[in-house]
Symmetry: C2
Subunit: 432 residues, 2 copies
């Protein structure tokens, strides 16, 4: 792995290189995504099935697009019961963590008769996108569906592309059933996002679409945003390890590679003040590359977006973490808790040498759907909050309004909104 | 005002008509907005100043684009001190309500050494858009800035279009200063959104852009979403009054008109089971129209998007509220609190005959920047939550990891992610 001495210039070059991975930079795909969306919006099912045949090479119709109970039963017959056991243990942790995110409706009141508050309501129907393609990720099924379930969403519609045989990966199906998907559709890509956003004869319109996907899915989600809500625009995965001379280089190397294996756009970065650690990690990476099954992908991702950055000071290292705003941050230093307090921008922060990133991907409980590509500066992990919305509640008694009505009228008049002022004034007509 | 008997068909027609007001339906403006954004992204200040001259007829340069302390002092000299007093009393309520929205970072722990949590961090720099043009809205300045301030945002950059003389409305400036804007820029439109999203020589790049604006602003916010975060895509304002025979028709009429006066795309709707109330409200509306200063705008907005809907049943009325998902909902019935409990979708809910909508626009405390045009099905009022983001925190001790490491390895292998499995396995090398 390349070792780079960090300077202001190298930081800027690296940040610029990283941003090339952003879905919003891929202008060339936008026209075709827009065409797919328009087509699904107007021709509905017919367009969805045509695109599924074209892109996924699967022939579907209104009677086969939705997964049946028989197909779910079949999936359970295929999947190793021990894996179901693992899935259930993971689900317990994920559910427990997300239960803690639940917020209450609340109000305040005063004795002269004012009540102000915030009422929380779960979304009615959400769409959950689960990628298919290169690999099947049942863990993403759990991470998408469980927060919605905990929030109390009434209907969860999952979509995931099927294979040429019109079948969905059985582990994905079993995970969907375990997590509580109400309906599962066998479609993927921009056509699936468009179908969920506008509704077709077979696929119901939803209020929000969540879940990561490829570049077409990301751009389609952005295009339908406003008509429905979305969680965020996901880019390729990334890990940043902040480590000092106390870190175990073999663990650090293994963790870097765990993200690099996702795809060729994934990014793995080590930032350290220790030149010695830098060199040892680089060696360990080379060693692992000889034995890991996905070393082709890993090598490409490391060549493109992998760095070992050596900094002069610990503060400089922290500042670089904030500038990169990584999806996953591991802090493997003398005082990981103290360092965590200094960091502003990261999707998930893993503390200490035993908190390997895959612990969070599957088991610990916090969500693994996280802001990528610098968006941890302003986006958050997928959470129960994504599946509820708020309404403000305002009650004023006659007494309470009469005490302050003149302030409202003055303010409204200063904005030349005389009908606003009138709506208050009319309530005090004929009074002094 | 037209009175319509509600049937399934009329509901659908009305919903379709309402959605015509959505910024995302205005395909024709997207190309010009995209051109403005690309131009500002590459030519920065130069492009911003060209567009400001073209659209706002104001000549700005790097030395005049930002509001100076002298200009703020000048604004305070012009603005009526009594209005400053009103603004301060409103601010007190707005701040108090938003303080209640603040959430804590939290964690859970177990004795064998696991800590899981959620760390909240305020956004570093946000951009606040305040419309200029037809009217100046100092209340929007307060509603935009105060939640950011309460959240602890480090730098708040406000932009608002200036007049031909290069000056910003003095009340807007004074409100910005009172609320705590750190910097104020005299630009508006899509060029302002692009400048905040990408940064120019004079205008810093922000993490999130909030605040309502015209169609160009709405489309520009959507276009830059992903590169920065945004609050939502705002459309024209709307009010829905749910009332029964106990409602005062004069108050209802006045409240309907208070939203209709915003612009010709605004929508004012009454839903009631009482034909008698429907007729009386219609009469009162006609009466007010003769005396209100903005009756031209009001008449057009009522013709386009104003309805008095009469339903057979109270439940049908509630269902129609949910289908419309209004920005502002007034409930003026025998049991407004009970009816509120039945409603799922509304930005802000005003209870009882004294809780007139303008009370919420200015004074009560809850935010007046609300989801419009049906988006209350999935969006929330602007809040402190908009200005913080979360990072998950994960710590596992050696002991805790050793108890469950096999589950993680099994799950990772089931997804064919062998480097994920390896990052856990490597920590137990040489052990049984």
């Amino acid at each position: 792995m390349r070792i780079v001495k960090l300077t202001k210039e190298t930081t800027e070059n690296i940040l610029e290189n990283m941003l090339k991975r952003s879905p919003t930079q891929y202008g060339t795909y936008e026209a075709s995504v827009q065409e797919i969306i328009e087509n699904v919006k107007t021709r509905k099912d017919a367009a969805v099935f045509e695109y599924t045949e074209k892109f996924d090479h699967a022939v579907l119709d209104a009677s086969t697009v939705e997964v049946t109970q028989e197909e779910i039963d079949e999936a359970y017959n295929i999947v190793d019961p021990e894996l179901i056991g693992v899935i259930r243990r993971c689900m317990k942790n994920i559910r427990e963590f997300h239960e803690k995110q639940k917020q209450n409706s609340w109000f305040t009141s005063t004795e002269n008769g004012t009540m102000l508050g915030q009422k929380l309501t779960a979304l009615n129907r959400v769409g959950v996108y689960v990628p298919g393609g290169k690999a099947a990720y049942p863990s993403s099924v759990l991470m998408n569906i469980l927060p919605a379930k905990v929030a109390g969403v009434k209907e969860i519609c999952m979509t995931t592309p099927c294979g040429r045989d019109g079948k969905v990966n059985p582990v994905v199906l079993a995970a969907a059933k375990e997590a509580g998907a109400d309906r599962v559709f066998k479609i993927g890509g921009a056509q699936a996002i468009a179908a969920l956003a506008y509704g077709t004869e077979s696929i119901p319109k939803v209020d929000k679409i969540v879940g990561p996907g490829n570049i077409y899915v990301a751009l389609a989600k952005k295009a339908v945003y406003g008509n429905v809500s979305i969680d965020s625009i996901a880019g390729p995965s990334e890990i940043l390890v902040l480590a000092d001379e106390t870190a175990n280089p073999r663990f650090v190397a293994a963790d870097l590679l765990s993200q690099a294996e996702h795809d060729e756009l994934a990014s793995a970065i080590l930032i350290t003040t220790s030149q010695e650690l830098a060199e040892k990690v680089s060696e360990e990476v080379d060693g692992f590359l000889k034995v890991l099954s996905r070393s082709d992908i890993i090598s490409k991702s490391l060549d493109n977006f992998g760095y070992i950055l050596v900094t002069d000071s610990h503060q400089e290292a922290i500042d670089t973490v904030d500038a990169i705003a990584p999806e996953h941050l591991e802090i493997v230093t003398k005082n990981p808790f103290e360092d965590m307090m200094k960091v502003h921008n990261a999707g998930a922060i893993f503390l200490g040498e035993n908190s390997s990133e895959p612990l969070g991907d599957y088991f610990a409980g916090p969500n693994h759907i996280l802001p990528t590509n610098g968006t941890a500066k302003f986006f958050s992990p997928l959470s129960v909050d994504d599946f509820v919305k708020k309404s403000s509640i305002i009650y004023y008694s006659r007494e309470a309004l009469s005490e302050i009505h003149e302030d409202i009228e003055s303010f409204a008049k200063s904005e030349s909104l005389t009908a606003h002022a009138n709506s208050i004034a009319v309530r005090f007509e004929g009074e002094e």
